[in-house]
């Protein structure tokens, strides 16, 4: 195969070996090293695992693509005023102990949601906001999600959850009923509360423990 080419010229073997070596190095750095460093991370005592309803809601958060506009990773106050906006302290790896798939997000077309449950604990507010965002936040560009609700003339059945809209947005004689999916989604949003004490130290301990072995 060599055709007697120069000693330093590219051939197939050099190409394959070089290309794969380089890829392994990058994978070791960005995938394997974080894996080894983080796999023994312990959840902080203040962090509760998601219950079944919240997990269903988390799935709905994924299915409806909330991550394309909302991050879940407040930055340090030295870098950005996230904490001053009520988004919470800078997050650490341990805060995500139950978060697979990760939902860190890359856009802030809307605000960070890592502590939305602490900032806005009202179930009514969330349901109404998902149905009619601009009734609560004028100028918001969040889509409304009518397909997560059922609108009906008349009254709701006893086991149904009715959305209490602000008077200016409620239509007389009409009820808006929250479907089970959106109820789960709101359960998930309200569970997003990472206001327990800053856990930088705990997080570092987990990392150091791993290295000491």
């Amino acid at each position: 195969m060599s055709f007697g080419v120069g000693k330093y010229e590219m051939d197939e073997m050099r190409l394959v070996v070089g290309a794969m070596l380089i890829l392994s190095l990058a994978t070791a750095l960005l995938v394997v090293m974080p894996y080894m460093l983080l796999k023994d991370t312990q959840p902080p005592p203040g962090l509760k695992p998601y219950n079944d309803q919240q997990l269903i809601g988390r799935q709905s958060y994924i299915a409806n693509g909330c991550i394309y506009c909302h991050s879940q990773q407040p930055r340090d106050v030295a870098q950005a005023p996230d904490a001053l906006r009520g988004w919470g302290r800078a997050s650490v790896a341990a805060d995500y102990a139950y978060d697979t798939p990760h939902l860190l997000g890359t856009m802030r077309t809307g605000p960070d949601l890592f502590n939305i449950g602490a900032r806005q604990p009202s179930r009514d507010w969330h349901l109404g906001h998902l149905y009619a965002p601009r009734a609560y936040t004028p100028g918001s560009i969040m889509p409304s999600y009518p397909y997560l609700f059922e609108v009906r003339q008349g009254t709701a059945k006893p086991d149904e959850v009715v959305v209490n809209l602000p008077p200016a947005f409620a239509k007389p004689g009409q009820v808006v009923i929250a479907k089970p999916e959106v109820r789960a989604l709101v359960d998930y949003l309200i569970s997003l509360d990472h206001t327990y004490p800053a856990l930088k130290a705990v997080d570092d301990m987990a990392v150091n423990r791993r290295e000491a072995r």
């Binding site: 330093y8 010229e9 890829l23 750095l29 983080l38 397909y147």
Partner: protein, 554 residues
């Protein structure tokens, strides 16, 4: 000294050492007969002869005048012409199928993108259907662009380049065809899955893992013909485009497999993996395919070899090495180990090395011949594309700096930057390549040259509005978010005019794509006026008795 610091130091020392080794060996001329490899893409008498099947007869004449009026290369050896024709023919079915599919995906992807763009300033528009909500149509757009249009076009162009670069027939085209079919099924199923809400939840990796199998197997199958053809190669040197294609075809299945392995990744580690993948799919898949095409078509159209062949080797290895480690810059300020971010920022800056290597090569090859751009439709798209590659890369390096990133992270600025790379660079290069390739595949010329011009100006104008508007909007958005005295809602409100501008630009781009697709299908079905018959190659000097039947019209 702890483990992470030693790894960091080790990587840094290794990077710098590797760089010095390369520079030293280049200074000593160890890379051997660079010149011979650079002219590998030409036949023996072909230097100085321009080639652009997308040009009209007049344009071709003007192009030749602009480049080398004295060239006598219209006299070509019959056996070499026959070899070229056989090479082109051997790949025509698989290339035709891949490029046709890519054009279909392009149109669908543009429509999805335009809908997503409009929704950002018309939030109550088309909200009744779950599958049309912004959070689904946006990932549908991204995946259709990445795995539908860009991958299919890149594979089609690569399949066409392989036999030409190795001067033999494509071996095992059926594997690539089978791979393309699996891939298409995967993209279709993945799109439906996202529309129905079955997403994995990771950007660039939304398709459920069961569907990902189709792309991994399909992607690996597409690589088969390359390796089989390499065994039959009739050339002594592997031209730079071959390295990029071969490496890209090796890298993609590995990346995609590791990234989608179910149950392996967790929490923050998954976030670092996510951006390791998402940046590598650009750097180790699309970029190699785009550069491979540019490295072939620019010198081929102009009839002169690239400026410095040795530099392209440096460009290749440094691109592979530095690009593969930059993914962490997407997590600056995030809950990830700081050494990882630091490595990624350093390597992002080091990306200047391969970018300059490519820029010198591609821009200096064109320098002094800008008149050729007027006459060659292929060159117009590709040269513009390579300019935007340089711009996108330099912008990307700067954006990785902590101070700049603090402003641009989480804003529309990043979206504009992503489009400069995948649209301005990659898509433009693919447009040019398709204009060159399709007349060879179909043995039919582009019927309406005005449609090529319309396509060019629509996408160029549209993209200029898109990119400039969104970059400014995103920057102001970032500044507003950093000011604690400005309410968050103000950072949303101020973007509205820029988002509207993006929709205008996007609509023009979509219109351009429709013109392109229409022209493509007019040609594919051989409608429209036949301009010159099928002017394929310059006439050989002897009667073409040795030529295969299909090429007799050349």
């Amino acid at each position: 000294m702890d483990l992470t610091v030693s790894v960091l130091l080790g990587t840094f020392i290794l990077s710098v050492l590797a760089l010095f080794v390369f520079i030293a060996s280049m200074a000593k001329g160890l890379f051997g007969s660079g010149g011979a490899a650079a002219v590998q893409i030409f036949d023996s008498d072909e230097l100085g002869a321009v080639e652009d099947p997308a040009a009209t007869k007049d344009q071709r004449g003007n192009l030749q005048q602009a480049m080398d009026p004295s060239s006598s290369a219209s006299q070509r050896s019959a056996s070499e012409v026959a070899t070229r024709l056989r090479a082109d023919q051997s790949s025509s079915l698989v290339v035709g199928v891949c490029l046709t599919l890519s054009v279909v995906w392009l149109v669908l992807a543009s429509v999805a993108g335009l809908i997503a763009s409009l929704k950002l300033h018309l939030p109550d528009w088309m909200v009744q259907q779950a599958w049309l909500t912004f959070g689904r149509i946006r990932p549908i757009h991204l995946n259709l662009v990445a795995y539908g249009w860009c991958s299919m076009a890149g594979i089609g162009v690569a399949m066409w380049l392989i036999p030409r670069l190795l001067k033999t027939e494509l071996v095992g085209a059926r594997y690539a065809l089978a791979g393309g079919v699996l891939w298409t099924l995967g993209v279709t199923a993945g799109t439906v899955a996202i529309a129905m809400g079955h997403s994995d939840g990771l950007e660039w990796l939304e398709y459920p893992w069961q569907i990902d199998i189709l792309l991994v197997v399909g992607g690996a199958l597409v690589g088969f013909p390359l390796w089989l053809t390499l065994l039959q190669r009739k050339v002594a040197h592997l031209y730079v485009s071959v390295w990029y294609i071969a490496a890209g075809l090796l890298w993609f299945p590995v990346l995609f497999l590791v990234a989608n392995w179910p149950g392996l990744h967790f929490g923050v580690q998954q976030a670092t993996m996510n951006w390791w993948f998402a940046h590598n799919v650009l750097g180790l898949w699309f970029t190699p395919l785009g550069l491979a095409a540019a490295y072939y078509f620019i010198p081929k159209v102009l009839g002169k070899p690239i400026h410095s062949y040795n530099l392209s080797l440096l460009g290749f290895w440094s691109l592979a090495f530095f690009y593969s480690q930059v993914g962490g810059h997407h997590l600056i300020g995030g809950p990830v180990p700081s050494w990882l971010i630091t490595i990624s920022i350093v390597q992002s800056m080091m990306m200047v090395v391969p970018v300059v290597a490519v820029a010198i090569n591609q821009h200096l090859t064109v320098l002094g011949n800008f008149r050729a751009l007027i006459y060659s439709p292929t060159l117009r798209f590709i040269v513009l594309g390579t300019m935007m590659y340089t711009a996108a890369s330099v912008q990307g390096s700067l954006q990785a700096l902590r101070s700049v990133n603090t402003v641009t992270h989480f804003t529309h600025y990043t979206v504009a930057h992503a489009h400069l790379g995948l649209y301005g660079f990659f898509t433009m290069v693919m447009f040019g390549s398709i204009y060159f390739i399709m007349p060879r595949v179909m043995k039919w010329e582009w019927p309406y040259p005005w449609m090529i011009s319309a396509h060019f100006w629509l996408v160029l104008g549209g993209f200029a509005i898109y990119f400039i508007g969104l970059s400014f909007g995103g920057w102001y958005q970032g500044l507003a978010m950093l000011d604690k005295d400005i309410p968050f809602m103000d950072s949303v409100r101020l973007t509205i005019p820029y988002l509207q501008a993006r929709s205008v630009g996007g609509a023009l781009m979509t219109l351009g794509h429709l013109v392109f697709a229409l022209h493509f299908f007019i040609m594919a079905f051989k409608f429209g006026p036949s301009r010159l018959g099928a002017a394929l190659l310059t006439k050989p000097k002897v009667d073409p008795v040795a030529m295969p039947a299909g090429g007799a019209t050349a």
